[in-house]
């Protein structure tokens, strides 16, 4: 389901899609959307639409990633001619171009210094602050990137995108507590985002995945958030996958601790109620049937069920197969 659409590119662009996207460059560069006539006449014959510039921007990104720097420069010049080179967004695009064309880490450092200079002139340029984080990440300095993103968040604490970035940066360093904190901030801003609930549930799960025995309250929280994500989206593959994974894990842990009940009471000293084994079993049944339905409908090619990522469906099927084997 990854069509090469420049207007609304998919959230996951594999290299072949990126290539298909950037191959549209000659077509779009061949005709100018703005007219060369003087001002009042140009309004009459202008062929630009709001989508024109979205298409240009997305094409610019895919041209950069496939190394088509000439097209990227041409597109950037068009955007600069249209919006002026003092626009915050155009400054950022210029920065991205410089980043992409930098040959070595030293060049990238120079781009970083240029960002510092821009920020001295205009400290409110949030997009450039975000680019700084991206450059630090590309330079392989995630600790500095985290510092930069926390500074950004002190100035703009309602930026859900930045909190999500912070959460993922912390998660990449296995700082689960901080990652969960940042993910909870995302939830405060966008409480209905099913993907944010699945993300926080994944973090809770990963924070205890390497522990043996796993921490019951983390698993319970993870279960809670996965439940919320499928409550918000009744066909969310990732949510049901997580639900299935956590319930089968909890099933094992709870039936173990049922044989040794005194151990369980010492473990959950937090005030997170651990669900009863019956609830967990019921949830597992729901998740299994829902996942099986999604896999079946996707495989049979039924219209209206083709929106899932194929890799995700295959993973769900493997999970179901694995589960079927252990039960037999």
């Amino acid at each position: 389901m990854t069509q090469a659409n420049l207007l609304s590119p998919p959230s996951n662009i594999p290299p072949q899609t990126a290539l298909a996207l950037s191959q549209k460059a000659p077509l779009i560069l061949s005709s100018s959307p703005t007219s060369s006539l003087p001002w009042p006449l140009s309004l009459l014959v202008s062929r630009e639409t709001p989508e024109t510039w979205t298409v240009h921007e997305n094409l610019f990104f895919s041209a950069l990633r496939t190394g088509d720097e000439n097209s990227a420069l041409a597109l950037l010049q068009r955007l600069e001619a249209r919006f002026g080179d003092h626009s915050e967004r155009i400054i950022t695009l210029r920065g991205i171009y410089n980043e992409a064309t930098s040959k070595s880490d030293a060049d990238l450092e120079k781009v970083f210094d240029a960002y510092e200079k821009i920020l001295r002139d205009d400290p409110t340029n949030m997009s450039i602050r975000k680019r700084r984080v991206a450059v630090l990440k590309a330079l392989g300095r995630p600790a500095d990137a985290i510092t930069a993103v926390t500074v950004l968040l002190q100035h703009s604490p309602t930026d859900a995108e930045a909190w999500a970035e912070a959460s993922e940066l912390y998660a990449s360093m296995a700082a689960w507590g901080q990652a969960i904190y940042a993910a909870e901030e995302v939830l405060l801003i966008t409480p209905n985002a099913w993907s944010a609930h699945a993300h926080i549930a994944t973090l809770h799960y990963l924070s205890t995945a390497s522990n043996n025995p796993p921490n019951l309250s983390s698993l319970a929280l993870s279960l809670k958030h996965f439940c919320r994500s499928v409550e918000l989206n009744d066909s969310y593959l990732r949510g049901f996958y997580g639900l299935k994974l956590i319930t089968s894990k909890l099933n094992g842990v709870l039936s173990d601790s049922a044989s040794a009940p005194n151990k369980r009471t010492t473990q959950d000293d937090d005030d997170i109620p651990v669900p009863s084994i019956e609830t967990v079993k019921k949830l597992e049944e729901i998740a299994t049937s829902k996942l099986a339905e999604m896999v079946r409908q996707f495989k049979s090619g039924k219209k209206g069920w083709q929106g899932y990522d194929e890799a995700e469906v295959i993973a769900a099927r493997e999970l179901l197969d694995r589960d079927g084997k252990t039960e037999r």
Binding site: N5, L6, L7, S8, P9, P10, S11, N12, I13, P15, A18, L19, L27, I28, P33, E51, T52, V55, F61, L64, R65, T66, G67, I96, E99, A100, L108, S127, K130, R131, V133, A134, K137, A138, A160, E161, A162, A164, E165, E168, A171, V186, N192, A193, S195, A196, H199, L203, L206, E231, L232, N233, D234, S235, Y236, R238, G304, Q306, G307, Y308
Partner: protein, 137 residues
């Protein structure tokens, strides 16, 4: 359904025009007498037909429950509806409104991530490696 809606709308509009014209003609000739019953009936019929036609030919309604609406987006994905921009790009249906959070590809996933923090160097490297490996699936 669309064809039936168009037929109903057409017939309704015809009746409505006729009823309005008849009313005008009637009031112009006999200004003091009340309107005959058949004209009122024709008017009411035309309104009924038009309302029916408009309701039938309406675009399918969106689910009003959040979970179902979100589920529909996940199930169907983004698909074209036959409209194109000037550049030849298809305008797609409504997508995940929280895609900007970039949390859908999981931790350490290979998604695009967040727009503002787009990792251009990493994506270029990924593409170069793909080309070096022969550019296959």
């Amino acid at each position: 359904m669309a064809a039936l809606g168009t037929v109903l709308n057409g017939v309704g509009a015809l009746f409505l025009t006729h009823a309005v014209y008849s009313t005008h003609e009637h009031t112009a000739t006999f200004a003091t007498t009340p309107l005959p019953l058949d004209i009122s009936l024709e008017l009411l019929t035309s309104i009924l037909l038009l309302s029916l036609g408009i309701v039938i030919s309406f675009a399918p309604l969106k689910p009003i429950q959040y979970a179902q609406w979100a589920g529909q987006i996940s199930r169907e994905g983004r698909h074209g509806e036959g409209r194109y921009t000037r550049e030849g790009e298809e305008i797609l249906s409504e997508g995940d409104p929280y895609a900007f959070l970039g949390l859908d590809s999981g931790i350490g996933g290979k998604g695009e991530g967040r727009r503002g923090f787009w990792d251009v160097k990493g994506k270029r490297k990924e593409y170069e490696e793909w080309v070096r490996d022969g550019g296959k699936q």
